[in-house]
Amino acid sequence: MPGRVGVCRRLLFALLLGVAAAALATPAFALGGSGLRPTVPDGVSENGHRIYDLYTYLISPFGIFVFVLVEALLLIIILRFRRSRQRPDYQPPQWHGNRWLEIGWTVIPFLILVVIGAFSFIELQRDFVRPADSVTDLDITVSAHQFGWTYYYPEGFKVNSEGLQATPLVIPTGKLVRMRMQSTDVIHSYWVPDLTGKTDTVPGYDNYMWYKVSQPGKWRGECAELCGTGHYTMQILVQAMTPDDYQAWVSDQVAKAKPSPSASPSSAAGAASPSPSASPGASASPSPSGSPSPSASPSP
């Protein structure tokens, strides 16, 4: 009954499972940019890097283990317990259950999840609680709109990044940058995969994201929350410079901004409190209303 066709099919099935296993188990070598990256990008910031660690070294071993175990069990069943390969008088055992087995496959997955959950919680405590003003080196306000981003720097100038030709957000290396995320119209989401995870910009309240970039470089990203017909054009560029280069760039921008002071936002209070609530309204936004910004941030 099984014949050659049956064997072929089984081999094909085994091959397919092998490919699937290999795809999950591929080590994290440089496939980035090719469209076949096996893990999340290894972030150039500390928090981005720790997300990579969680993905690659905590969850993946368990994930690959469970995948290989279950697919192997399925394969063994497919190969060993076919009726066509058994004696005609074979009577399958009539098990109705087994208390210890059932307790086992309840408790063991639970323990695995406790480990994953515990490390995720530690990471949440470490990197997802907004840093205090005292440890923050640079405060930038990001105002999102259909379809672009405006970056307000504490020195009083702003950088507009509109559409496909994204203008870079310039940041210094080695400094803790904290961004106050706002939206003047719909919900957007700021995502630069090489930097760290994404943060939504929601009209009505402020969100925060922060990172400390270790090396100079330029990275891309884009809006991750469907925000209208121009969603795909909301590209992001981030450029990290050494502190000296950054200072030079800032002086340059301040000099450029001087001739037209009306364009600068009301932020004059320095790094500690950029008072961004009034600034988004001044941007060239198509929104019908400025953000009321009740500054009741849900982040602690």
Partner: protein
């Protein structure tokens, strides 16, 4: 066999070639079930065409097959059609047909409510699709319809209102069906069928109905608030209000909806594996407990769709832990299925093939779910193609594969004829390879940083590297399309000229195999005695019936519906 068309089974013409007026007015749960399933299958084809158009658009960087506005409408329509109009409706159809049969009832508890519940759906579906023909087009904010994008200020089209209206009607219909299922199972079980002797598919349908009953109203409520904003100028979710409140309401429905789509599939698999392995289900009690574990956990995980909106870390931790815990009951079900098949005498007929295909693929969706549940990791993966791959592994590798398994399993009961095996093999292998080819590499696109719901990736910053992967995905997605065509062709020709099935072609365990194929309008002449959750197997073991002749029992049927 091909040349000689076998004679039609008795009742065949009576059941299936009635005048249209009968289809419009019937209260027979079987005919209503067939109408549900047909509606679902039509929606599956339409939603699939939407997906193919999107895949062609995404096959190359900077492709311009359709514009952004059309793409946004299609991306919303694909989700809405597949989730609301295909998966849920088709599963409701399967349950409508088989729950009364499996518990030995004559019909549903409220046959006319059943009729009303079904006939609300055409209004719901047509209302939504009219959106494509109004100025501005249909909903274009994704199937989730997040405000403020769906507010009047940003979506002026009537299509958005039609979408909200459509889903409110849909929720009403779902609430009616759920009430009906629960009452039927509580009130109309055959003599001897205690709760612990019910088939697991019936248990699965109970948990599904409880869920839909619990979360249908919050969905409708959220949409009513959205419509108040749009039509009467309130500020629930506008830029002046709290847009995130909508997300809470929507996902309080939206996540349990995932389980509304997959739990009946779990039930189908729990029916199929014991029959084809010739073993009883392993751990019946823990299977039922796992269903209810999933039910209760699933209403406390919704905010894992919102880990990037800026919630308190302790709130995020709560939802992360609850989400991870769902893996425990799901794992119990998986290992119980494996233990059921282990040591069996397995006949790999098509239903069993699809059951194993389901387990092999759904597993991947379950594992990626653990990655996504971890809040820090989710901030990278959220709203990327990784999520698209994950949800298709769960909904296609899960719901659709179980639907295919169920159709191959029960088609003989519904029509009296077997589905063609050769076409079925072609269907299985094209869908298995096509599906995995399409969605496995999609994970890596998300890891590259490709967000979902973008009409194109213009290139210039390195995204052009996504082109090759996307081309591959587009090519394999057509395998899936071909497989569905083979399946539909098989349905049509087998219904017309398939091999006659007999009453019990698989050697089934449950009561639906104890009546003729197709069953008469009154379902059973005599309901067999029920002494375990496998009443037909018991009869066969006692020698009271032989293989394939299930209708010679000696016990009187109870008076109708009591």
């Amino acid at each position: 066999m091909a040349t000689l068309a076998p004679p039609r089974p008795k009742n065949y013409d009576d059941t299936f070639f009635k005048p249209i007026s009968l289809w419009l007015t019937t209260t027979d749960h079987k005919l209503i079930g067939i109408m549900y399933m047909t509606t679902g299958m039509l929606a599956f084809v339409i939603g699939g065409v939407f997906a193919l158009v999107m895949r062609v658009q995404l096959s190359q960087p900077n492709e311009k097959v359709i514009d952004a506005s059309t793409y946004n409408q299609l991306v919303s329509a694909h989700g809405t059609t597949m989730i609301f109009f295909f998966a849920t409706i088709f599963m409701t159809g399967v349950a409508n047909y088989f729950v009364p049969l499996m518990i030995g009832a004559r019909d549903m508890a409220f046959p006319r409510l059943n009729l009303l519940g079904f006939w609300l759906l055409p209004f719901s579906i047509i209302a939504y699709f009219i959106g494509f023909f109004v100025p501005g087009g249909a909903l274009s904010a994704g199937w989730t319809g997040y405000p403020p994008l769906t507010e009047k200020a940003f979506s002026t089209s009537l299509g958005t209102d039609l979408w909200a209206f459509s889903l409110i009607i849909w929720a009403l219909s779902g609430i009616m069906a759920s009430t009906n299922f629960l009452t039927t199972v509580v009130a109309l079980r055959a003599p001897g069928m205690t709760l612990t002797r019910m088939p697991l598919f019936v248990w699965a349908q109970i948990s599904t109905s409880v869920l839909l009953l619990a979360v249908g109203a919050p969905l409708a409520g959220g949409l009513v608030m959205l419509e108040l904003d749009r039509q009467f100028g309130t500020n629930f979710f506008t830029t002046q209000g709290r847009p995130v409140l909508y997300q809470h309401l929507f996902w309080f429905f939206g996540h349990p909806e995932v389980y509304i789509m997959i739990l009946p599939g779990f039930g189908i698999i729990s029916e199929i594996i014991p029959v084809f392995a010739r073993k009883p289900i392993f751990g019946y009690a823990s299977m039922v407990a796992a269903l209810f574990g999933i039910l209760f956990l699933s209403v406390a995980v919704w905010a894992h769709h919102m880990f990037t909106v800026g919630m308190n870390v302790y709130v995020e931790t709560f939802f992360m832990v609850m989400t991870m815990l769902i893996a425990v009951p799901t794992g119990i079900k998986f290992f119980n299925w494996i233990a059921t098949a282990w040591g069996g005498s397995i006949d790999f007929q098509l239903p069993m093939k699809f059951a194993f295909g389901f387990m092999a693929t759904f597993l991947i969706g379950g594992i990626t779910g653990i990655y996504l549940s971890s809040v820090p990791v989710d901030t990278q993966l959220h709203q990327s193609y990784y999520v698209v791959a994950h949800l298709h592994y769960v909904l296609f590798g899960g719901t659709v594969m179980t639907i295919f398994a169920g159709v191959y399993y029960w088609f003989p009961k519904i029509t009296g004829r077997m589905l063609n095996k050769t076409l079925g093999e072609w269907h299985f292998w094209t869908v298995f390879l096509g599906f995995n080819g399409t969605f496995l590499v999609m994970h890596t696109l998300g890891l590259e940083g490709m967000p979902r719901r973008i009409v194109t990736y213009p290139g210039g910053f390195g995204e052009e590297g996504w082109g090759a992967t996307n081309t591959f995905i587009t090519l394999t997605s057509f395998f899936v399309a071909i497989s569905v065509l083979i399946f539909l062709y098989n349905l049509v020709i087998s219904w017309k000229r398939g091999e006659v099935a007999g009453d019990d072609p698989w050697g089934g365990n449950t009561l639906e195999w104890a009546t003729t194929s197709p069953p008469p309008p009154y379902n059973f002449e005599r309901v067999p005695p029920v002494r375990s959750h496998m009443p037909l197997r018991d009869l066969r073991a006692e020698g009271r019936i032989g293989q394939g002749e299930a209708t010679k029992q000696t016990v009187e049927a109870p008076a109708a519906g009591t």
